[in-house]
Structure formats: C-alpha cells, structure tokens
Symmetry: C2
Subunit: 350 residues, 2 copies
C-alpha cells in the first residue's frame, strides 16, 4: 500500500531539514495522485518543524501550500483528470459527517481534520507527510482546482495564506466601499491587502514600519496607517468597518480595537498565543467584537481560488531550490521575504 518517494524533512525538533525518503500511499479508489511542482513555505511549517506547539511528530515532511499536476486518479474519481493543475492546502481528510463538515467547514471537524502533515493517515500505517516532496496522494474531496490563467508557482501560497485571509473577509461580509484595515505586512497581510482590494474595499495597511508604505500601496492599499503614530491612530479612531489582524505573535490589541466602528469586528488569524490584556471597556463602548478565524473549508478554498483566477491574484513570491530551505527558514524568521518563499520542486527531482 505504499511506495518510497524523495522528500526533505526533519528527523527531530533539533534537526535542520535534510533529504530523506518517505512512504507514500498508493492510489485508492477516491484518491488523486499529484506530481508536485511547487510548494509554499508557511511560517507555521517552521513552528511545527521546531515543535513550538508541542504536538509535532517525526520524521516530519512539512508543506501545505502544494501545487502540482494530476498523474493518476482512483476509479471513483471523475472530477480530476491526468495533467490537470491542482492544489492541496492544510487538510487532506476529515470525518465528513459532523456538523462542521456538513457545514463545509472541515477545518473545524469535530473529530479533528487530518492535516496535510503530521496527522494520522487513516489509509496507511503512518502519519501524513506534506509537500516538500515530489508526489502526494490525496482524497479527491481535498484536492482543489487551480485556475490555469494564474502563475502556478505564485498560486501555491493561496492554499494557506490566501484562504486564511479570504475566509474572514467573506465571513464578515466585507463589501465594496468598506474601510478595511489589514494589520501587518507579511505573508498573510499582503494577501489580505490584495483580496480586500479586489473585493472593492477601501484598504488601509496598518503597520509599525513607515518603510512598508510604498509596497503596501503597490499591493493595493489605499492608505497606510503607522500604528506608532498616535495622532494618526486617533484620526482613524472609530472608523473601520473591519480589521484583519495578521500579527503572528502576542500583542496589545487595544489600540486596534479603538479603530473599529460601532459593532465592527477585528479578526485574529495570526496570533495563536496569549495576547496582552484587553480592556473590557473598549469592547463595551461601541459594542465591538474580536474573533478568530482558521484557514477555511474546502468549498470556500475553491471559491477563493476561482476568485483569484477571476481577479488574477497570486502571492508575491521568491522562488527557491529545496537545498536552500534552511536558509529560507532563517529569513522567514527575520521577516526577510517579500512575501512568501515557494520551493521549485524540480530541484528535488534532479
């Protein structure tokens, strides 16, 4: 039920990524076999490789922003054909029967979604392995169609950074003319700006760094608000219809809560750790809201990809060879990438 393929992975939480080979399951009746062409590098890959969240399993092959071409399909697969451009994001399976799955929100599967790497693979005696490899087999329900008109290598980050920012914008009903703040200009933030702009919002990039202003505007921001500038923050107080907060670490949310209009929401997509104390009065005055959002369901991910195809939206990327992956990790940790590394998987095949 499995064959060996080349990959790059970590033996344990202390190890750099290095070449290894992994078992890959055979193509079952509902499966799609994909020849991986590109895989994005997500900041969460690094946290997981280093076991920062304490639930990592080794050997680990990271990668959940996977682009490739179909090479084979199982007998019950009709939606996918050999040669088609496809993608795989953060999940590869779920129970398909709980209320979350029934509501097309497999990311909240009550039995726990099978993540693309590091989860128990229900179909073989191994845990799942991600996209830093040459080939993957995934249940058809978790394979996405990638629009052929967009740059496929730059489409890879849509599978995580794209859906992570698209889902809250849609779920909180961002619409033409809304004043939308995007806090933080990184992998998530730069997608948030592009997507909110394409939805017709008046986009304000909120950043600590004045030197990011030009780039934010190139990406689609109508304004840049420097969060350290108290006068500017005061001017924008109470004026935002929605704020997408992509800051990846704990921080003080109170100055951003002040920016919200009455009844408006700020959604966290980056900070999975404790945040600084929120002032209750800041929420009570103006009936303001804070919420979290996690990637998106498969149906919504396809909707996002179609939206990106229609608006010709991809990520800004820097293409690397697999042998550069450890250097790339260092640069991600230094926020030194505009705005996402993508691995050219041909470099692993050669």
């Amino acid at each position: 039920m499995s064959k060996k393929v080349n990959a790059y992975g970590a033996k344990d939480s202390q190890a750099d990524l290095e070449p290894m080979s992994i078992k890959r399951r055979d193509v079952l009746k509902d499966d799609v076999e994909i020849d991986i062409t590109y895989c994005g590098v997500c900041h969460s890959d690094i946290h997981t490789v280093k076991n920062d969240w304490g639930n990592s399993v080794y050997p680990m092959i990271p990668g959940h922003e996977i682009i490739g071409r179909v090479t084979a399909v199982g007998e019950k697969v009709s939606d996918f054909k050999e040669g088609q451009l496809v993608g795989v994001g953060c999940m590869v399976d779920s129970c398909q029967s709980c209320s979350a799955c029934e509501d097309d929100m497999e990311q909240f599967c009550e039995k726990g979604a099978t993540m693309t790497y590091g989860s128990k693979d229900e179909h073989m005696d191994d845990h799942t392995h991600g996209g830093y490899t040459t080939s993957i087999v995934v249940d058809k329900k978790f394979v996405l169609h990638i629009p052929e008109n967009i740059d496929e290598k730059a489409a890879a980050p849509l599978l995580c950074a794209g859906i992570t920012t698209y889902s809250p914008l849609k779920n909180w009903n961002v619409k033409k003319g809304d004043k939308v703040g995007v806090i933080g200009l990184g992998g998530l933030g730069h997608m948030g700006v592009k997507l909110a702009d394409a939805m017709g919002a008046h986009v304000v990039m909120i950043t600590t760094s004045p030197d990011k202003a030009e780039d934010a505007e190139r990406l689609g921001a109508d304004e840049v608000l420097i969060s350290k500038d108290k006068d500017a923050m005061k001017e924008h107080q109470g004026s935002f219809d929605f704020i997408l907060n992509t800051i990846p670490v704990g921080h003080d949310m109170n100055p951003y809560i002040n920016l919200l209009k009455r009844d408006a929401t700020m959604v966290l997509v980056g900070a999975v750790e404790p945040l600084e104390p929120v002032h209750g009065g800041g929420l009570i005055m103006g009936r303001k809201r804070i919420a979290g959002s996690l990637i998106g369901g498969i149906k919504e991910t396809q909707e996002m990809l179609d939206f990106c195809g229609e608006h010709n939206i991809v990520s800004d990327i820097e293409l690397i060879d697999i042998s550069d992956i450890n250097k790339a990790y260092d640069r991600v940790m230094d926020s030194d990438v505009k705005y996402r590394f993508v691995i050219d998987m041909a470099s692993l095949k050669n």
Copy 2:
C-alpha cells in the same frame, strides 16, 4: 429655570451620601416631570460616587433606575399624561442626529449621550442629577412607559440591569432552545437568567459558588455549571450558543471561551477594566467571538419593558429607606444583596 428639591448625594469622592438639596430644571416644552417613587441602586453608582473611573463630578446625586409618576408635561408632549407610571434609565438626552442616534442606539451617541447624572445638562447651567431625589424633569424621548401590571418598585432595576442583559440577548439573536450561559449571579446575572429563560433558551447559570445553585434554578436556570469544577467545564466544552458574561471585574475569559460552540459569541457587560490575557488560539479554533455590550437604546429599552410586562418579569429586590443607603453600598460591595437594592423614595419625602 430651576427649583430646589431634596436629594441624597455625595459632596466629593471621600464623602458618604448625605441629605442635600439640588436645583432641578423647570418643565420645558418637550419635558416630562416625574415624581420619583423608587430608584434602584446600581453597582456603577458606587464606582461613580467614589470616582473609581476618574470622571465624576460633584456634588453628585446618583441613581439611574428611576420609577415614578408623571406630574406635569411640556406643551409639546402628547405621549405622556399626568399620573402615568414611567421610568428613566441611564440616559436623559443625546444628539438625535448622529448615525448611532439614527439607529436608535443613543447609548453610543457620537457626541456623547447625556447620562442621567454627572453629565452637562444642555438645558440649564448645571450637570445632571440622578434618581436619589423626589422629582426629575426629563426630555420625553428618554422617558419610558412602565407596564402597569408589574410591581413598580421591582421594575426599577429593569432600567439598567434589565436592558443591559436584554440587549445582548436580543442583538445576538438568542432564541428558543439555544443553550445560553449566564456567568455570575448578581444584579445583572439574575436578570440575564430570567430574560433568557423567558426567551425560551436552555439557561445555564455559570458560577463559582455551588451555594447559588438553588437560587439560580428558582430564577429560571435549567442547569448550574460550577466554573471551578474542571470535569464539569470539560463536559460543557464547545456546547454553548451564547454566553452572557456579567462578571464585574477583570478575570480569565479563556475557560469560558472554551465553552462556546463554533461561531458562538460571549458578550461582556460587566468588566469595564483590563481582562487577563486571551489565548488567540482559543478564538481561532472554532472561529469564536467576544464582544461588549452597553445598556441599550431607548426604543429597545421600551421593547424590553413591554417584554417584561408580557412575561411578568421584574427584579428580585430588597427595599430600603434612603437613610440606609450607605449601609446598602457596603453590602453591594460585599455581594450581599439578592439581587438589587431599591430605595423607597417616600422615605426622602417624609
């Protein structure tokens, strides 16, 4: 433009409440003059008397849960007639032209609502004075009709505690069969239980004190969840459609966030101070939400009063004479009241 009336108030933040007399404005064309029969004692009265929030003005006559009978009306008043039972809550005026006022949410008036006490009175050279007195004059738009079928003295707390808990239950669309948690069994919490129960919700009182269980059930709770009981908290994890959090001080919200279903909201109505750090992951997993809510608009307050009339809902009160007010304050601070003190204002007239 003013006459003197008897009142009980504080000279400064160090002073106990004592008899004093205050100027009361004459009845203008849009005004309603009210002979005050009862006034509730809100915990926020104590904070304001002691200047805990730093914005108090003296001499201060507290009280914003006012019940009385109309004694006179201005020439442009047709909705109110002499002898009618009426109420006044936390606000007595607002700009009536900003978007919040246009949306019937005067509590969020962009120019700042005129609070029942301690705000600039636009109609005379003084600040406003609250309900610990015998007579008040209020613009007709801020006077509420009290259903004649309910116990008028026990209706007083509806004007603050009632609307503070009714508004979020309605705004977040609590409906028949919803599992609703009410955290904290005090002045706000006991109203939350009664109102959510009357809306048909399955009400769970969430409290640290097992000895409150019996009373919670008497008030309408279907279940009592002891928040210190980790096993019980785990059993209820991810099961609440809505949580009304009435805890009046900073606290750890994370155990309560865990109780919410996917996409469910916990609303803060009590804690106007910094809360302990929220764990971002707790919001992100399950797309959960926290929000604040502040009293309610005048239209909604009337709706709440009509609802209470229909369901015969009032507050559980302990009636006191005005001369007992300082002792009552001490007991409120010791959480030693079931569940609201109401001053019999006849005791000030004698």
